[in-house]
């Protein structure tokens, strides 16, 4: 694996099942430093806190549809702040419509993955984000 195994990663999804699947996949790829949040609204304070402590998250994987703060709103919030303008952000969604991709790209997403996906596809998306 070209990327460092202890890269600080935050997985954001309201469904515990999906968080566990993504964590398992990231583990298969070789990543070890993974934190979870169950909504954009719980992810944001974690992101801010980690940054204040000098150990910011280096990669965010977030679901799109969440009840309190969507992945899109979390992305917009991050891109609107100087600190998180360039934090790699992979958007995960169950909805495969083209319109969603356009919206996410306009908001500054680093890449986009549609459920269902395999660990191999996730790895390819991560490689694209960090090698482009």
């Amino acid at each position: 694996m070209g990327l460092k195994a202890d890269m600080k990663i935050l997985v954001v999804d309201d469904m515990a099942t999906m968080r566990k699947i993504i964590k398992n996949m990231l583990g298969q790829i070789g990543f070890t430093n993974i934190t979870q949040a169950d909504d954009g609204s719980t992810a944001w304070p974690l992101i801010e806190k980690a940054n204040k402590e000098g150990v910011p998250y280096e990669f965010i994987l977030s679901d799109w549809n969440m009840p309190k703060m969507s992945g899109l709103d979390l992305l917009k919030k991050m891109r609107a702040s100087d600190e998180f303008k360039k934090t790699p952000f992979l958007m995960i969604t169950a909805e495969a419509e083209q319109g969603n991709v356009v919206i996410a790209v306009k908001a500054g997403v680093s890449n986009f993955i549609v459920k269902p996906f395999s660990a191999q596809v996730l790895k390819e998306k991560i490689d694209k984000i960090f090698n482009s």
């Binding site: 469904m15 099942t17 999906m18 398992n24 009840p67 169950a94 909805e95 495969a96 459920k115 269902p116």
Partner: protein, 168 residues
């Protein structure tokens, strides 16, 4: 009453999406069996995931409203095996750890089906999935909808896909 042609056409993306979701995330192939009309509200499974969908169908210059629901039902044994495969841990009883597995599967199927439905002229608004658990539980179908049940075989056991659909 929905036209039979529209119902058949409407159901195809869900079957294709279910096959894709199970092959990718559950590592098993699905074998859909012959569909049949379902008259009873009693589920054939012990765990059901239910997701509503509504929108408009634009076809041949006409626009009609439709309402639909996707239900996936699993006997406990199948549900535990599916959850175990998806989460890479062994589960032998129903608990909070696997309570949203069915909902996530339903969500992915509906999300994938939406793309094909859009190509066919269906606009669609997805609801949030809910789970019903317990032997012989009942499912409340939207009034006026026709319910079709598709038994599905897999290496993890039998499951059931139900689709109800109505045009207004």
């Amino acid at each position: 009453m929905a036209s039979a042609t529209n119902f058949i056409e409407f159901s195809r993306p869900f079957i294709n999406a279910a096959k894709n979701v199970f092959e990718t995330m559950v590592f098993t192939k699905l074998e859909p069996q012959k569909p049949g009309l379902k008259k009873s509200q009693v589920s054939n499974g012990d765990v059901s995931s239910v997701l509503g969908l509504s929108g408009e169908l634009t076809k041949g210059g006409d626009t009609i409203e439709y309402r639909a629901m996707l239900v996936l039902s699993w006997p406990y044994e199948t549900y535990f095996k599916v959850a175990s495969a998806m989460l890479m841990e062994t589960y032998e009883e129903y608990n909070d750890d696997i309570a949203d597995v069915g909902g996530e599967i339903c969500n992915m199927i509906m999300g994938n089906a939406k793309r094909d439905l859009a190509v066919m002229g269906y606009s669609s608004n997805m609801a949030i999935p809910s789970i019903i658990e317990g032997p012989k539980h009942t499912i409340k179908y939207p009034v006026g909808t026709t319910v079709v049940e598709i038994p599905i075989n897999s290496a993890h056991g039998k499951m059931f896909m139900e689709l109800c659909y109505a045009e207004f």
